[in-house]
Amino acid sequence: MNLKISALEFVQQVQDGNISAEDFVAKTMEQIHSVDEKLHAFLSVNENAINQARLIDKKIKSGDKVGACFGMPISIKDNMCIKNEKTTCASKMLENFISPYDATVITKLKQQDAIFIGKTNMDEFAMGLSTEFSAFGPSRNPWNPEYVPGGSSGGSAVSVSAFECVASLGSDTGGSVRNPASFCSVVGYKPTYGLISRYGLISYANSIEQIGPITRTVKDVAFMLNIIAGIDPNDNTTIDNKNEDYLSGIDSGIEGKKIGIITDMMTDGVDPSVLSATKDAISKLEGLGAICEEISIEMVKYSVAAYYTITATEAGSNLARYDNLRYGYDFSVEGYEFNSYISKAREKFGPEVTRRMIIGGFVPSAGHAGKYFLKALKVKSKLTKELDEAFKKFDLLVAPTVPILPFKIGEKINDPVSLFLVDINTVTANLTGKPAISIPYSISNGLPIGIQLFADSNQDKLLLQAAYALEQTVKLPEVPL
């Protein structure tokens, strides 16, 4: 049984009767039990997955209608609700929280006969970019377990990279899908804001975050989008995508497309091997018939500060619900005064979440909002205008996904500002609502490098076509598990 197949190959092989969903899921469970003690991609595993796959095989054999996933094992970041399953957000605060309902993406995948193989590790409440801030211990990079897998959807990227599932869903607030995809050499997609419903995604920074697929191929992203994208009455920020088919015409190529090279994302701080890979990718894009020219996006320099100011503000508001009365853990109210009880209960938050709550109280507060929050919103506005102008001239933009290679576990954890700057190439897509994708491009000293492409809002199909074209030029070594 070959686990190293794409989602589309899985579907084809099950449809053709070459493999059964049950055998594939059983083998996937074996793989999880074999590698996950070392990699820690999962916070919980669905021990009923093989039985669920068997039921799908029965449907196939009896000629019943079967959903598009045909029993495909998919992992889900542990900040999306699956009814009657644990959703911990990798936090001690929600360690025993059982979701009372399904997120919309889960409902849609269930309707298409996906199997949720497990919930994946992440930075607590998605606040981080290395998965080191999980309250349950870090995930490790399958390319070198001494290195971080990126984050915050680190467990999702590890699970796809290490063949512990066929595809995964992560969430991307400032690069949390694209960053771990780049670090683990898989594909990570942040769609146009509103393309995928956030209903049932535990909120961090609602105005900019999106659920996004992490897969082995660009075509698999398109396959997943065909299932989970579209308008949702439970999320008023969703957009009507008119049931777009993202797979059709994905091989259209990029002949004649204009691509802007974002110079502000390729400055002196970029690792030389990342810079070299990006220049090589640009040559490949030109070889495919694209016209590449440099463009400066001035506000990129300020984007990280704006991003952290805005997200901390929204997080401060979102996390206010964790007072241990509505959500929380078993901790008696007896003998406590109201405020001291909540303060005591919040000691369960990890250090990064606690820091961001403090920042989230500080930057929008009276006397400080003008200096921080208002300016951050203005940077966001100006950055959006700059990108809108760029897309009048260019069809796509290109930059490295992350300016550096994966770093060692523990290397940056005590330097929050140094960690901030790892996000500098990814937050722009979130602040502006534009779609962006990370494509595995090369390996340097045994560590992966991803290339990022951006498109204008609602040009997700064009973006996938370009990503597919670039992906076809790349041949990478297998992950050394």
Binding site: P100, I342, P416
Partner: protein, 89 residues
């Protein structure tokens, strides 16, 4: 420049115990000080753009029945009430 007292004051308002000075006060101060870069962005005259949604496009404001008693999922409740600590000592 943000001061230690500022951070301790906000922490109290956010109902957070700052019991580890290095983890919370020092690191938070470093993070907020980094945000000073926003002062040089030159965006003073920029308008803040907001996403507007017409009321007619919002979901109808009506009761949607849920098939389980959600209050029973809480750790502390009595009847139909959430059990909370007393408001003053």
């Amino acid at each position: 420049m943000v001061t230690e007292e500022d951070i301790e004051h906000v922490s109290k308002l956010m109902k957070i115990n700052v019991n580890d000075h290095a983890e919370y006060v020092d690191k938070v101060r470093a993070m907020i000080n980094y945000f000073d870069i926003l002062d040089s962005a030159g965006v003073e005259s920029e308008e803040v753009s907001m996403q507007e949604i017409s009321i007619s496009k919002l979901r109808e404001d009506k009761y949607i029945p849920f098939d389980e008693k959600l209050i029973e999922k809480l750790n502390h409740y009595k009847g139909t009430y959430v059990r909370a600590p007393k408001m003053s000592s």
